[in-house]
């Protein structure tokens, strides 16, 4: 049945309101400080490490993001772990919060469709995350310029920028997941617990679990089959996808993200960097996977929200 009017009427209003809510909320401030402090610690550690072991590296600047120094993990590892926390923090009470504040039916009785409310909330969340990540990215680069004293080249900047975009896409996945939970579960506490549990499972347990599952269930003695199967399973986790995409983008020497066959190495100059375009191609399936996952999760939430009863 066709309905009159645009489904997106009021989208801008909702987005701006949610954005201003996010920007002024205490929750967001705490999350930002957490991420900034932790990431800066990682960058600082990376810089000191890089200074100690300065070598002839054409992509010295990118080491800023990927170098780890005990006991701290690298900047990218931190983001892979903490970006989901930020996204969940922004999204877990998006819809059920409106229910419990009893504002939902009042807002939806205004001349807008539900689509506008949900899209607006997602866009505002993504914009908030993007702003935080861009700021963090700029701080990191600025810090690198000052402390390393080496200006980054054009390709390095391009790679760093793609890394930023991939991180935003990764944040989108978790935001969509958190919003899905906020639609499915009427209590914000339940939604938060479920998403946080899922996050811990996916980022910590799943990478270790997938090889075990494969050895248990895949009836093959072929080493390569087992490795590929385990990797496919592990790639169900957005964190794995993000890690692989970042690896390909920030380590120009990365030629493949799967197992390498001897035949593939014929003629390859080991350790020589790929061009930017080739690196993006290597990471392309992972990037598309991340975007597809967020769209899929969002659509799931969208359908659930459209079917949901408005009454409290």
């Amino acid at each position: 049945m066709r309905r009159e009017g645009s489904a997106l009427r009021g989208l801008g209003v909702v987005t701006l309101k949610e954005l201003s809510d996010h920007m002024t909320s205490a929750r967001m401030r705490v999350l930002e400080w957490l991420v900034v402090l932790v990431a800066l610690a990682a960058v600082y550690a990376a810089i000191t490490q890089i200074r100690d072991v300065t070598a002839e590296d054409p992509f010295l600047f990118l080491r800023l993001f990927t170098t780890a120094r005990d006991p701290l993990p690298s900047f990218t590892a931190f983001l892979g772990f903490l970006v989901p926390l930020m996204a969940i923090g922004l999204g877990f009470d998006a819809v059920n919060g409106e229910h419990s504040r009893r504002t939902l039916s009042r807002i939806l009785s205004q001349p807008i469709y539900r689509d506008a409310l949900l899209f607006g909330k997602f866009l505002a969340g993504l914009a908030t995350l993007s702003v935080s990540l861009i700021v963090l990215w700029l701080i990191t680069i600025g810090l690198g310029l000052i402390m390393l004293g080496v200006p980054p080249g054009a390709e390095e900047m391009a790679r760093a920028f793609i890394f930023l975009l991939v991180t935003i896409a990764y944040a989108g996945v978790w935001l969509a997941l958190a919003m899905l939970a906020s639609i499915v579960f009427r209590s914000a506490a339940t939604a938060a617990l479920v998403t946080l549990g899922f996050w811990l499972f996916i980022t910590l347990i799943w990478p270790a679990l997938s090889p075990a599952i494969v050895t248990a269930f895949v009836p093959s003695n072929d080493e390569a089959t087992l490795v590929i199967a385990a990797q496919s399973l592990a790639r169900l986790s957005p964190s794995t996808l993000y890690g692989e995409a970042v690896m390909a983008i920030l380590h120009p020497a990365t030629r493949t993200l799967g197992p390498v066959y001897i035949s593939q190495l014929q003629g390859a100059v080991m350790g020589s960097p790929l061009s930017l375009w080739s690196s993006v191609m290597v990471a392309w399936p992972q990037i598309v996977g991340l975007i597809a996952a967020s769209i899929l999760l969002f659509v799931g939430g969208y359908v659930a929200f459209q079917r949901q009863e408005v009454r409290a």
Binding site: M1, G5, R106, Q110, P111, Y113
Partner: protein, 335 residues
């Protein structure tokens, strides 16, 4: 004002006065396991205050949500100013102002800011927003707290803020779901006064409630809901006439006079006269017969001491109706 014939439940739509603004025909809402609203039919005329009454879970809120296009209609039709809430929900929602049961606002925002947000959603031009919001807050008596955070508001103030939103929207129809629920007597009286003033401004009001006595005083017509159906519909007087057998009870206290009881009983429209105490007569009649009764007492050379009219109370009608339909009484009470 409206001398309409009381329609039996489920019969043809009643002849509503003036222009019909809400027309509901055979409206039905089915869930997987239950039927929440079962083929109801009613019309609401322009400028009317129409009450949807009944116990919790009788289908009042579901009916309202279907009228707003917020809940899908399983069968039947609903029209709001001729618009179909299923196909033209934006049009319908532009015309209706809705105050949900225990309305909520964003606690961290001020009253005016909350209205600003809604005003932008409605699409009120920027230039008019401030003026309209100020006027609406003034009308409901929240002008002094316009810039206070809603988090500190009492329940009554929130309800009034909800009404301010409807005023600001300049809605043609106000749909109020349990507006006086949980308010203290003073606050609910103020709220009912506001609702009356809506009618005076030409707004049509549809309100639902399970608090019968509060609602009785302001409704032009009511529909009594029971288990998803409209059991009774009409003015309170008509319902009284139908359920209690006589709508009005006139009490006459008079001294002397000859055969007063007989004389009163002979008046046209009187169904029954009883004499609970010497010199006190209780007449059950079809309409307000106070003037005729007074004239009759005087004509019978009696000295009239007191004359009073007992309006039929909805509470009584309701209780009596469900007593006589005992099998229909088992209404599941949803929280």
């Amino acid at each position: 004002m409206d001398a309409i014939v009381l329609p039996r439940a489920g019969s043809a739509p009643s002849a509503a006065p003036a222009q019909t603004v809400i027309a509901v025909n055979g409206l039905t809402k089915r869930y997987d396991t239950a039927t929440a609203v079962d083929g109801i039919t009613f019309n609401v005329g322009a400028g009317e205050i129409f009450g949807l009454l009944g116990p919790n879970g009788a289908g009042k809120t579901t009916t309202i949500l279907m009228l707003l296009g917020l809940s899908d209609i399983s069968a039947g039709t609903a029209r709001v100013f001729g618009h179909d809430p299923m196909r033209e929900p934006l049009q319908v929602k532009r015309l209706i102002g809705y105050l949900p049961d225990t309305v909520g606002f964003y606690d961290n925002m001020s009253a005016a800011d909350n209205l600003h947000y809604t005003a932008r959603l409605i699409g009120i031009p920027r230039a008019e927003r401030d003026k309209k919001i100020a006027a609406a807050l003034e009308r409901v008596g929240l002008k002094d707290v316009a810039n206070k955070k809603v988090g500190a508001f009492s329940r009554g103030m929130r309800q009034r803020l909800g009404l301010a939103e409807i005023v600001m929207k300049e809605a043609r129809i106000a749909i109020l779901d349990e507006p006086t629920n949980g308010l203290d007597p003073q606050a609910s009286l103020e709220l009912l006064d506001l609702i009356r003033s809506f009618k005076a401004h030409g707004m049509t009001v549809l309100l639902s409630s399970h608090l019968l006595d509060r609602v009785q005083s302001i409704c032009d017509r009511v529909a009594l809901f029971n288990a998803g159906k409209i059991a009774l519909m009409g003015t309170v007087g008509e319902l009284g006439a139908q359920v209690l057998g006589g709508g009005f009870a006139v009490e006459v206290e008079a001294d002397g006079g000859e055969h007063l009881a007989k004389r009163l009983a002979a008046l046209p429209g009187v169904r029954q006269v009883s004499e609970p105490a010497p010199g006190r007569f209780r007449m059950v009649c079809d309409r307000d017969l106070r003037a005729e009764a007074a004239a009759e007492v005087v004509a019978g050379k009696g000295r009239l001491k007191q004359l009073s009219l007992d309006r039929p109370s909805l509470e009584t009608i309701y209780t009596r109706y469900f007593q006589s339909h005992d099998n229909a009484r088992e209404v599941p009470h949803a929280a």
